[in-house]
Symmetry: C2
């Protein structure tokens, strides 16, 4: 069975360019752009600054960290015309640490938080369909530098909080679970998982309290650790999850490798690092898996490519319809600039077919302008009810034009599992 | 002599990662982001939609177009773990035309304008310092599909107009000149050149009319064509120029190669294409070359990383200073969100040194908050005058907080050459 993410191809969001690689078409680019702006707002709120590191990263850096060989088969390698060898960066610990070495001189230069929203590359042996696991994908990666572990733990908390804010705004069922630090190393790690049937991870969540864990680290599991001690009232249940974010308290691993030190009264001290990923293109697939139905995509208002679509009916037989639709579109567009789609294609499709197209694309509200059009009583379909509602323009604006950060999508059925850490 | 673009390194905008490749640090990322948003506004105004095509482009497509061999030495090549061969795309005619084949079915699907703002790759033999000619760089590339040459010429005109709008907003001396269509092919082409001493191109401009040309195509030049017939009143003068944009009426070259046709009453017809580039990271270097002084960068207000900087003086001896500076910053920030920099470093630098830093970075307005601070009479330095001005907060806001599209930078000396086509 194909996962629901196939809808992203079907609805014209993405097109495969080669195995595990996808072109982002206009609709996907709009959704990704909105997601990236939400991420930027959260990053900016904690004082992080955006940068873009070179995608081509010299082999020397990866040899120095020892990772050229350990993740060898997953690296796309490039040789230039002079014989210099690079990889297409799957992650940037080596590059950022080298860079930070030139800027971190004293305790005053920290905390230093640098993030990027760019493409990453990993030559996956088995790419999964769509954006779930690609070989060319989008990520937010944040790297933090602090004076010591205590400061770094405060940083860690603020990033985890920013991630909770983000997923809460996305109105998607998710959990944060303690995780194994694995190959990246470090002393503390959490995974953020969107709960969806197609997920490859198994997440255990308590329905009566805030506890959640990845099965690997659950009590009684093989790892045998108990990061979240259960109480007598705990009722655990397993869910499939899609990993969309991770947080690592890295420690001195890379700062000692690349000698990132600052002057202190007792001599040079190593900076204490953290790294924090978010799979932005994977979030598009995960939100699809968690919220879509077989009839179409369902985006939270904050991510929808357009919040409202205006569709015309019978415009070829009645000139007034097109001008009424244009007028309404302009009026709505003033309240939510760029967020209103006018579908005035003169194609002879039925109302049912036109609405089905908008539902497939996942536009939350669809207004019909036909021969019975009444500017005071709009006929509005939403993605959750079969029958249309009659509502006034300003009510539609209220429903659809909420500022990006205050968005709610109340109608989507959720299972109550959202935030736990 | 180093070009002025060295200032981008010196002021902490960019850092070299390897030959011809640069990390974009927070200041450069801010400027690039603003430029990209100005480009998006122009593209959106002509009905173009943003996409992102895979950077990794299959060898098969480039072999099919014949360009795998013709631009061979400039292509970065990548082989994956299964032996499939790709290049890191320096341009996307092959990929977009293949993609368009699936979407263009009838005349109704056109005009179709698709653009991206992404990284491109070219293994230059001799990369030039900074962002002027890199091996990894940012571009806007727009591809257009029209039903016939007549429609495509209208498209061409609207893109050229959009480019003129953009460069006018950037307040940078530039000209548009007719150009050779060269290796890309097609029937019409213009280059947009920013005039700056370091430029490698030689542009001839008439000071009494709107005529301009690249020397190659000037009357009497070797190419011998006369794209711009001079009048008796023409007074030509040569300028060095940096190519920052080009426009090509491509015709059927790629649509016939990749079979992009639509149904017409007289049978299948080939789509008529255009392609339109803008070197966005190169524009950062070109604006620097055209406007900066040896003391620092000078950005038009629409590109400045911050429009206003608030600097404190003697804050370590007087607690009121820090709170006054924070308060003023918040007030200014409300008028121009995200555009105000508070430099409250407790470093014991003199006023002169602190202002010199802000001038190096190129913040257009600098407000000093010291022991003589008066909230009604701000002490404001700008990048063009040595002496400060005393002005009220709301006057500073008027000067600095103009909406991005109405920005003026009146003080920068210009030579009267701006728009000619």
């Amino acid at each position: 069975m194909w996962p629901l993410s196939q809808l992203l191809v079907q609805a014209g969001y993405i097109a495969q360019s080669s195995s595990g690689m996808y072109h982002m078409l206009p609709l996907a680019k709009r959704v990704l752009g909105k997601l990236e702006n939400l991420v930027r707002a959260e990053m900016s709120a904690i004082g992080a600054q955006e940068i873009s590191l070179s995608t081509l990263t010299g082999k020397d850096l990866w040899t120095h960290s020892g990772r050229w060989d350990t993740v060898s088969s997953e690296l796309f390698r490039v040789e230039d015309r002079r014989g210099a060898v690079y990889c297409l960066a799957p992650t940037h610990e080596e590059a950022i640490t080298t860079l930070a070495k030139s800027y971190v001189r004293s305790a005053r230069n920290m905390p230093l938080y640098l993030y990027q929203l760019d493409r990453k590359y990993r030559d996956e042996l088995r790419p999964r369909s769509g954006l779930l696991r690609g070989r060319e994908f989008y990520m937010k990666d944040l790297y933090t530098f602090d004076v010591d572990e205590q400061a770094a733990r405060l940083t860690y908390e603020s990033v985890v909080k920013a991630y909770h804010n983000l997923f809460t705004h996305l109105h998607v069922p998710y959990v944060a679970v303690e995780a194994d630090t694995g190959a990246i190393g470090g002393s503390m790690s959490h995974e953020f998982q969107v709960l969806a049937p197609v997920g490859e991870d198994s997440v255990t969540v308590c329905h009566t309290c805030d506890r959640a864990a990845n099965l690997e680290v659950m009590p009684g599991s093989e790892a045998g650790t108990t990061p979240v001690a259960p109480t007598d009232h705990c009722q655990f249940e397993s869910h499939a999850g899609i990993e969309v974010g991770h947080t690592f308290l890295l420690g001195h691993k890379y700062s000692s490798m690349f000698d990132v030190t600052y002057d202190s009264p007792s001599g040079p001290e190593l900076a204490f690092m953290g790294c924090y990923g978010l799979g932005t293109s994977r979030i598009l697939a995960a939100v699809t898996e968690a919220l879509a139905s077989e009839n179409g995509l369902r985006w939270p208002l904050s991510l929808a490519p357009y919040r409202v679509a205006v569709i015309t009916l019978g415009a070829s037989r009645n000139d007034n319809i097109e001008s009424a639709a244009t007028c309404l579109t302009e009026q709505l567009n003033e309240a939510m600039p760029g967020d209103v789609l006018l579908d005035d294609r003169c194609v002879d499709l039925s109302l049912r077919q036109k609405i089905a197209t908008m539902r497939l694309i996942g536009v939350p509200y669809v207004v019909v302008v036909g021969s019975r059009y009444n500017a005071r009583q709009l006929e509005v379909y939403d993605s959750h009810n079969e029958a249309p509602r009659k509502i006034a323009v300003h009510d539609l604006i209220q429903l659809a034009a909420l500022p990006e950060r205050d968005v709610q999508l109340v109608d989507i059925k959720r299972d109550g599992i959202h935030a736990s850490s």
